[in-house]
């Protein structure tokens, strides 16, 4: 349809920018799936709802501290981490020793509860936390392409977060404890590692990263119940990379985003719905444990 007016090089730069932004969104969301699964072997199907809760946290703090946007953001980030801690302390802790399926079902119930609570507290009205913070979402040039301010924030924050997590997991005591608990919880417990503290930390980190993703999506688009569906859209990216690998989540997100953006542009936009799952099916056929996942964890997936 119609003649395309943009030059070939310009178009490719814009498509590359689109891929990087979408991959960052998926990577930031799927990070939460991986952190919880890697440490506790629980698949959290309430991740979209916890993103939603994190975004509503920003909306609330932005309403309360609209004159101090940085304070509002800091409070919202803290709130997201505390919510993760509470979810573990009040709910998931009781699932220790139960079957994996039971724990997954509890996360589904948690999701339903969170969805209901958000409607009761904030109604279904679309919200715009960015306006409350007094910030705009400027359009920034990158060569011949353009990127939104929030889109750029997605890329920078995702890169910083993955870098930070790498350092944390590799070089800090708590990071090493988390890896040990994920690798062999029984042995880790016998060596004196407090498993409940480690699991609580994993939930806090996952809700914190998911909360950031929710806040950024709410700032880029708007805050409403559609966030839950977006949370689930990143799940195939985590599976493609391997559910227990952060590097895998990054690679999976890049592959899914690349396929999605290119098919939207060159084939049919309707394919964007099925692309992540098509990539996932292809991966399950070739390498069921994902690009960087552990083979022995296949039965749990």
């Amino acid at each position: 349809m119609g003649s395309r007016v943009r030059g070939n090089d310009d178009r490719q730069v814009q498509l590359a920018v689109n891929i990087v932004v979408l991959a960052s969104i998926y990577a930031l969301i799927s990070c939460g799936y991986v952190l919880i699964y890697r440490v506790s072997r629980v698949l959290s199907l309430a991740h979209g709802e916890l993103m939603l809760l994190g975004a509503y946290g920003l909306y609330t703090t932005a309403s309360l501290f609209s004159r101090s946007p940085l304070l509002a953001v800091a409070m919202a980030l803290l709130l997201a981490a505390v919510i993760g801690l509470l979810v573990y302390a009040l709910l998931m802790r009781r699932m220790t020793g139960e079957s994996v399926l039971a724990a997954v079902l509890v996360t589904i119930a948690l999701g339903i509860l969170v969805r209901g609570l958000t409607v009761l507290i904030w109604s279904t009205q679309e919200r715009h936390p960015l306006n409350l913070l007094g910030w705009g979402n400027a359009s920034l040039p990158i060569g011949a392409a353009r990127i939104s301010g929030v889109g750029l924030a997605f890329v920078v924050i995702t890169a910083a977060l993955y870098g930070g997590l790498y350092i944390f997991l590799r070089y800090t005591h708590w990071g090493i404890r988390m890896r040990a608990a994920g690798q062999n919880p029984l042995l880790a417990a016998q060596r004196g590692i407090n498993l409940h503290a480690v699991y609580a930390l994993a939930w806090a980190l996952a809700t914190f990263t998911g909360g950031i993703a929710g806040m950024l999506i709410a700032c880029d688009n708007a805050l409403d119940q559609t966030m839950v569906t977006i949370g689930l859209k990143a799940f195939p990216a985590a599976l493609v990379g391997g559910l227990d690998s952060l590097l895998g989540a990054l690679a999976g997100s890049l592959i899914v985003a690349c396929a999605e953006v290119l098919l939207i542009y060159y084939v049919d936009p309707l394919l964007s719905e099925v692309v992540p799952f098509a990539v996932l099916i292809a991966m399950l056929v070739v390498r069921p444990w994902g690009l960087f996942g552990s083979r022995e964890e296949l039965d749990r997936v």
Binding site: M1, I25, S139, Q225, I264, Y265
Partner: protein, 387 residues
């Protein structure tokens, strides 16, 4: 102990049945939660507030009205279960559907099986309500398939000095895709050039990939018809990558508030409900009813729900007492409601037309000089019977 519980439950059920027999019972299956709830739940909440307002004034024909609301989350299976319960257990005399179009088929089946009139309230009007209408299906919702595209493209044509290169945006749901396909054909007949048509998924985390394709097709006008979030997020993504054309889209419940947020003179909305900038006396009443009913949405969202309340009141009043679904359907097929300026004319249903006889459209945008939402087209009528 068990026998006491059973007796208590039986008494409670009996009391509910007795109370129901002494009231008009109206059922709603609606997307009160879920992705589409933002534009549907306010309609049901305001209709509920209006029913409370009626009851506060002594009811209809001396009887109270009971509104039974069941959330279907926009899922067909839940809507089917809700409809079944409402017609068979609650014995409703009128069933409302305030949900997405994918719930229609199972709800219609249940309503027809029970012979209960089905009223689309806030949900898009299906073609069965257009002439020649199905005997049991009625609709007062502002937006109407095919008519909206006719009105929007007419506005574009009248406001373009240069040839129109039209971009189209919809969402991957049947009703939106159908409308955008229709608009594409209509644009060609009107001498416009449709340059691209993008259908976005419901929903997606980033609309920029779709916007990139649309922008590269170089439209000077865009027409989008889908749920609000898809319409406006496509527009915002296009602006962020530098598109500078004009964009017209459907004025959903939140349009007045959104125009004031977006503040772009080249972003237009077309709709059939008056905005609150009119400050009509009836809008003061909407505000009062919403306040008494403790409705938590902004008053600018509530016109549609208020109209639903007035339609229910008029239909039940004309059906008399005791009501039956047949009597209510009969009253609805000759219903006429004076909307007192909320729309361009009265809402009128006839035996063959359960949509409305004339559909009136206005267009608004943000005026940067006046720093206000401004009307750029007053009521333009389309004669539905001649379609």
């Amino acid at each position: 102990m068990h026998s006491r519980i059973i007796v208590a439950a039986a008494l409670a059920a009996l009391a509910q049945a007795v109370a129901a027999q002494d009231a008009y019972v109206v059922g709603v299956t609606g997307a009160m939660t879920g992705p589409q709830a933002g534009i549907l739940a306010p309609v049901v909440e305001m209709a509920g507030a209006y029913v409370n307002h009626i009851n506060g004034r002594g009811g209809i024909n001396g009887k109270q009205v009971r509104l039974v609301v069941a959330d279907d989350q926009g899922e067909p299976s839940r809507a089917a279960a809700n409809a079944k319960k409402l017609v068979s257990q609650d014995n409703v005399v009128l069933l409302l559907n305030s949900s997405v179009s994918s719930t229609y088929a199972p709800v219609v089946a249940e309503a027809k099986r029970a012979g209960v009139p089905l009223y689309y309230a806030g949900a898009v009007c299906p073609k069965e309500t257009y002439p020649p209408a199905d005997a049991l299906q009625f609709c007062s919702t502002a937006f109407g398939a095919t008519l909206d595209s006719q009105a929007a493209l007419d506005f574009i044509k009248r406001n373009s000095k240069e040839p129109v290169r039209l971009g189209l945006a919809g969402m991957a749901i049947p009703v939106s895709r159908g409308e955008i396909d229709y608009a594409e054909g209509l644009a060609k007949k009107l001498g416009m050039t449709p340059v691209d048509k993008e259908i976005t998924p419901p929903p997606t985390p980033d609309y920029t990939p779709f916007a990139t394709k649309l922008k590269d097709a170089n439209p000077n006008w865009m027409w989008a018809w889908s749920p609000w979030f898809a319409q406006v997020r496509t527009y915002e993504a296009m602006r962020r990558i530098g598109w500078q054309g004009r964009y017209i889209t459907w004025a959903h419940l939140n349009a007045e508030e959104e125009l004031a947020r977006i503040k772009d003179p080249d972003f237009y909305v077309i709709g059939t409900n008056a905005f609150f900038e009119d400050s009509l006396p009836i809008q003061a009443e909407i505000r009062a009813v919403a306040h008494r009913g403790n409705v938590k949405y902004p008053v600018t969202y509530l016109t549609e729900g208020y109209i639903v309340g007035v339609v229910i009141e008029t239909a039940l009043k004309n059906a008399g007492w005791p009501p039956t679904p047949q009597k209510v359907a009969g009253a609805m097929s000759k219903l006429k409601v004076d909307l007192k300026g909320l729309r361009g004319g009265p809402l009128e249903w006839t035996k063959d037309n359960h949509f409305r006889t004339r559909q009136y459209y206005r267009v608004w945008h943000w005026d940067a000089q006046k720093n206000a939402v401004v009307r750029v087209q007053d009521w333009q009528a389309i004669d539905v019977a001649r379609q």
